[in-house]
Amino acid sequence: MNRHMASSIASTTLLSGLIWWILSDGALESWIIGVPAILLIVGWSLSQQNSFQSLPRFFGLLEFVPYFLWESLRGGIDVARLALAPSTSINPCFISFDLQLPKGPAQRVFINTVSLLPGTLSADLLGEQLIVHRLRGASDGDQDLRECERRVARMYGLTLTDADPGQSSAGALRP
């Protein structure tokens, strides 16, 4: 048993214990069901491959949450302003974005986060390409997506595979 595995077991146990405590309003007798359920969850997560990769690092999470909350606040305000404005000045289009994150939990977190960033929405995943729908046209580049990807990678303690982001294309797929 290596360190990764031990810390994975510990954090899975703590997390599911916390969730059980929330769900049961702290009722003491509910742990008769809670403890076996938590053991099942830990056992199941151990039987998955690469289970130690599936949880972000704790400090990484602390760093990511404020960014995420701020961006989703901006995203909500942005789209609400567009919806309430007297004339809709949106220019929707699709762009393709070359993913640098490896397949796995980090990539899934990134894909779901993109939908909450201002003006972007992940529409489809074709191999290593994420099709992103943008509300404001393709002109403003993909800096916000790169930034988000970098932060997700840091949360999981990963280094991005492609070291040259200048190569990636943000070409419009459809007008």
Partner: protein, 110 residues
């Protein structure tokens, strides 16, 4: 008293975002833009309402439960949004058929 006032303001702001989301749903030109409105505005609205509820409840277990509710809705919103957008794209785009089958081959090859 100030907490209560803050809670009232947060709840009202939350409803405003829900209204904006519904309006966007009506006014935006295509499915994907409507998904933008539904996902982002409604998540933010729910977040504000949850915060308003947290300010008025006293036990920490309830705070955490409310936050858990918000997280669940946010997760399900993001996943649903991706699924619906993908389905919509695959229904109405025949242009990308070749691209898609290429990607499938890559996936099965890897």
């Amino acid at each position: 008293m100030t907490l209560e006032l803050l809670s009232v303001l947060l709840a009202i702001a939350g409803v405003v975002f829900f209204f904006a989301g519904a309006l966007g749903l009506l006014r935006f030109p295509d499915v994907y833009s409507r998904l933008h409105a539904l996902t982002k505005a409604d998540n933010l609205g729910l977040g504000l309402i949850v915060m308003a509820a947290i300010l008025q409840s006293s036990s920490p277990a309830q705070w955490l439960k409310l936050i858990l509710i918000w997280l669940m809705v946010m997760l399900s919103g993001a996943v649903t949004c991706h699924l619906v957008a993908r389905r919509a794209r695959r229904i109405d785009s025949r242009v990308d058929k070749t691209l898609e089958s290429n990607a499938r081959q890559e996936e099965s090859g890897a």
